[in-house]
Amino acid sequence: MADPRLVNLTVNGRMVAVSVEPRRSLADCLRHDLRLTGTHIGCEHGICGACTVLVDGAAVRACLMLAVQVEGRAIATVEGLAGAAALGPLQESFRRHHALQCGFCTPGILMSAHALLSAEPKADRARVIEVLSGHLCRCTGYLPIVEAILDAREAYLCGAAEPAGKGK
């Protein structure tokens, strides 16, 4: 078994150092080492999308990255989307549109949608569906999720949704 390594990274704007074995996935590192259990683990081979987080602003599968690969990178997780007291605009929109039931897939979908709208706040329905195709949801049938993301665009257009993961 390989020796643990110290990895320095920024998570939701906070600098942290964590000691991990090379085999530790970023998803497991976030959940077990940093106790950020908002990032869910479904399939552990890159299909379901539940573990999606942002690495330097780009949506990626946290189960298909090693923790040792994020040295010096800025990570954003679902915990960074909301303020201390209130939900973020994307989360508000999901609530308004009943875009979740069991909620297992929701953190990953929120992060993909956040990355998309931060880069492309005018994304059309086809683009939203394309990005959403990287996620499995077994409850909703996807339609309320599409509506929720489309409805959240305005907040991103007027800059009300601060992009997360731009570590200081």
Partner: protein, 293 residues
């Protein structure tokens, strides 16, 4: 499943990476984007003693247009291809193909060098290299080698890479103005591995109403992407009409090799590939007649 244990190295240049790979006597693997390798490790299809992370090696992510070629570094990611104005002009067929690679989230990590070295039968990028007569630059113990895509891709997950060799870059010939192209694949869901696909291009001679320099490849149906040389030769300078499309499809049926698996039987995959080929030729011929493209 969790990954099996391995040692981890992050070399700072290519010679160091090659030395590290060789030092494990074939039991280390290079790690690029990890979007195919890590799932394979999760399933224990591979369990390398060490991963050699290539991300700290400078100069592997370049997109350069030189006099006679478009050179893409091995660590260029799919998302880089999709947002590059240089590639949009220099290889529009590549851009269209990359739109079909996996999903948005995977395209933010996956690299073209990784795809090529992995050599999945259904992967778009090896097929585009094959159809475009791309040259693969590899680096190993004895220095550099250049390999034609046709000689590089040997079978399902099988390439001409020798022990300790790494893909450094891929070079595509310059794309002339006015070239016509077509890309189409069929997968059961968006982002799935294609059951079959086709990529083609040709250079139209609009006054004569014909196309020359046909390049056609089918992928996803057999062990490895296939150039259909017989169809290319048949179509050379043929008038753009439906009789020639029908004949081309018949020739393709005789030459393409298909395999079946749990997703689709061989006969279905071949029928799908030849249907996509026929539709593609129809589109290209329409563009010759219509003068667009």
């Amino acid at each position: 499943m969790k990954f099996p244990p391995f040692e981890f190295h992050r070399p700072g240049d290519l010679p160091e990476a090659v030395d590290l790979l060789l030092s494990y006597d074939g039991e280390a693997l290079p790690l690029a984007g990890g979007q195919s390798l890590l799932p394979m490790m999760a399933f224990r299809l591979v369990a390398p003693k060490a991963l050699i992370d290539l991300s700290a090696i400078p100069g592997l992510d370049g997109i350069e247009l030189n006099g006679d070629s478009l050179r893409l570094g091995a660590l260029v990611r799919w998302c880089d291809v999709l947002c590059s104005p240089v590639i949009a002009n220099a290889h529009p067929l590549l851009v269209e193909a990359v739109r079909h690679v996996a999903h948005y989230q995977v395209r933010n990590r996956g690299t073209l060098g990784g795809s090529l070295a992995h050599a999945d039968a259904a992967a778009e990028f090896p097929a585009i290299c094959l159809v475009s007569d791309a040259m693969i630059d590899v680096v190993g113990r004895d220095g550099k080698r250049c390999i034609a895509a046709r000689d590089f891709l040997l079978g399902a997950m099988e390439t001409d890479l020798r022990e300790g060799e790494l893909v450094a870059a891929v070079r595509f010939p310059i794309w002339p103005a006015g070239r016509l192209w077509h890309f189409r694949e069929f997968a059961r869901r968006s982002g799935d591995f294609a059951l079959a696909g086709v990529a083609m291009y040709c250079d139209p001679d609009r006054q004569a109403g014909v196309c020359r320099n046909w390049h056609i490849a089918c992928f996803g149906l057999g062990e490895v992407a296939q150039r259909v040389d017989a169809v290319e030769a048949f179509l050379e300078a043929k008038p753009a009409d439906t009789a020639h499309i029908r004949e081309a499809v018949l020739i393709a049926q005789r030459h393409l090799v298909a395999d079946g698996d749990i997703h689709a039987p061989a006969g279905y995959r071949k029928a799908l590939a030849t249907e996509l080929l026929g539709r593609g030729l129809n589109e290209v011929f329409k563009a010759v007649a219509g003068g667009d493209g």
